[in-house]
Amino acid sequence: MAQVATGPELTPRQSSRNLPSLVANNDRPELSEEVVKALETYKKKDSPKVVVRFKGVGNAPIMKQNVYKIIATNRFQAVIQFLRKELGWQKGEPLFLYINSTFSPAPDDTVLNLYKSFSTEGYLIVNYSTTPAWG
């Protein structure tokens, strides 16, 4: 029978559905163990590193080393801060970052997401400029 496979998972949910008031104070009432585990797995920051290649544009200073391994779950904001530090940029000094010479990603997007969508030949190419370069 089809239900057999799901039986063990359904039991706690079904029983608690009859007693909503008793489970209301639990941390995650009625969420099956399976779901809780799944959500934790996707939240987990097992951090592969991805290779980022920085390319200066226009008058931007050139970096001696321009290829870095960066933890993939970092937000792009961390890349911005990292680059500012490497260049010795003071607070308030303008610096514009782009992916593939086209757009500036949202600072809260992760390096992993950007790498998955935009990497070329194993690199995530980040262009940097002291003036707005691509819109």
């Binding site: 939240k43 757009f103 809260d108 935009f118 819109g135």
Partner: protein, 342 residues
């Protein structure tokens, strides 16, 4: 020309709104405020952004709540929003995504409430000072929000076509027109320009077969790739710009080509069982037929989670290409919030 079906669903998406209840943090109310009225209700467009509703909220607070003299020291650029639970609300997320993401995250924290047909307002706390700018990522100005929006459009363009030529070849007036369309919540103004960027979901060019019969609202469920496909159509792009919002984070991106390798349309169920198998377990193949059971069915798998797009629970057989064309946000992204079945 954008086909009728695409336009219809784009309009439905565009007209979607969410109820918000905005309350000034009582600790931050300026002296002599009218405390009975510090709450403002708004039905905000899903495709809009928080900085765009600030002027309306401000007008209300200045007119009705704040004491004129005490309010003089307030600066708009120091205002920021939090959810009731203390989650920072980002300036650059579409309001519809903030709402759906919040509703789902809240639903897994508390016991389920009986479903009602009317959506309950999301409660926002408005702070008037000391914005945590490092966590908000963006200054709260309309201009910063516009920049972020344009970049999202470009990013989506790149994912769809592998370059941003469609976006960059727009005249400045047209680019600005996109944002004005959002600001004014004008479907016609926005889509006049946006239709140059976004693919239509209509049928690819068919040489022989007549248009499908039946309900005029029905949409194509499959694509005949044997015929010349529409080069600008939803099934011809490289990948659908998709973001997946899991309850309480994280936000994930995966490549989502419109067609699978065998040429069949890429469906939500295929996408999720491929990338999020723990929440969307794939259905195993049916057992071999036997004498007792000549037509065996595939065993059922638990339905742990569902996909919510623009507030709509989407069927697993929905095609990503169609969804990306008809139910994407104004920034071109198909934002899918994953909810948990209870």
């Amino acid at each position: 020309m954008t086909d009728f079906n695409t336009t219809l669903f784009r309009r439905l998406t565009w007209e979607g709104t969410v109820p918000l209840e905005i309350r000034v943090d009582p600790k931050e109310l300026p002296a002599n405020s009218n405390r009975g009225l510090e709450c403002y209700y708004i039905q905000a467009p899903r495709v809009s952004y928080l900085p765009l509703i600030v002027p309306e909220v401000r007008r209300f607070l200045m007119d009705v709540v704040f004491d004129e003299i005490a309010a003089k020291g307030l600066k708009d650029e120091e205002w920021w929003f939090e959810s009731e639970e203390g989650t920072l609300l980002k300036w650059h997320w579409p309001i519809g995504v903030i709402y759906d993401n919040h509703t789902i995250s809240a639903s897994i924290r508390s016991s389920p409430t009986p479903s009602t047909s009317t959506a309950s307002p999301m409660r926002l706390i408005l702070h008037l000072a000391a914005p945590p700018n490092d966590k908000l990522f963006l200054s709260p100005t309309v201009d910063a929000c516009k920049q972020a929006f344009m970049n999202q459009l470009k990013e989506a363009d790149f994912i769809r076509w592998g370059n941003t030529r469609r976006m960059t070849s727009l005249r400045k007036a047209d680019q600005d027109g996109l944002w004005e369309g959002i600001r004014e919540h004008s479907f016609d103004d926005f889509w006049r320009v946006a239709s140059k960027l976004m693919p239509t979901a209509g049928l690819p060019i068919r040489s022989t077969s007549p248009p499908p019969m039946g309900s005029s609202l029905s949409r194509p469920t499959s694509v005949d790739t044997a015929n010349t496909p529409d080069r600008d159509g939803a099934y011809s792009i490289r990948s659908v710009p998709v973001r997946i919002y899991l309850p309480d984070g994280p936000v994930l991106q995966e490549l989502a080509p419109p067609l699978l390798e065998d040429g069949t349309p890429h469906t939500l169920s295929h996408f999720f069982s491929n990338h999020f198998a723990l929440l969307f377990p794939p259905r195993p193949p049916p057992p071999p037929p036997s004498r007792l059971n000549p037509n065996p069915q595939a065993p059922a798998v638990p339905k742990l989670a569902y996909a919510l797009i623009q507030g709509v629970v989407c069927p697993p057989e929905a095609e990503l290409a169609w969804l990306g064309s008809c139910m994407a946000g104004a920034d071109g992204w198909l934002n899918i919030c994953v909810g948990i079945n209870r």
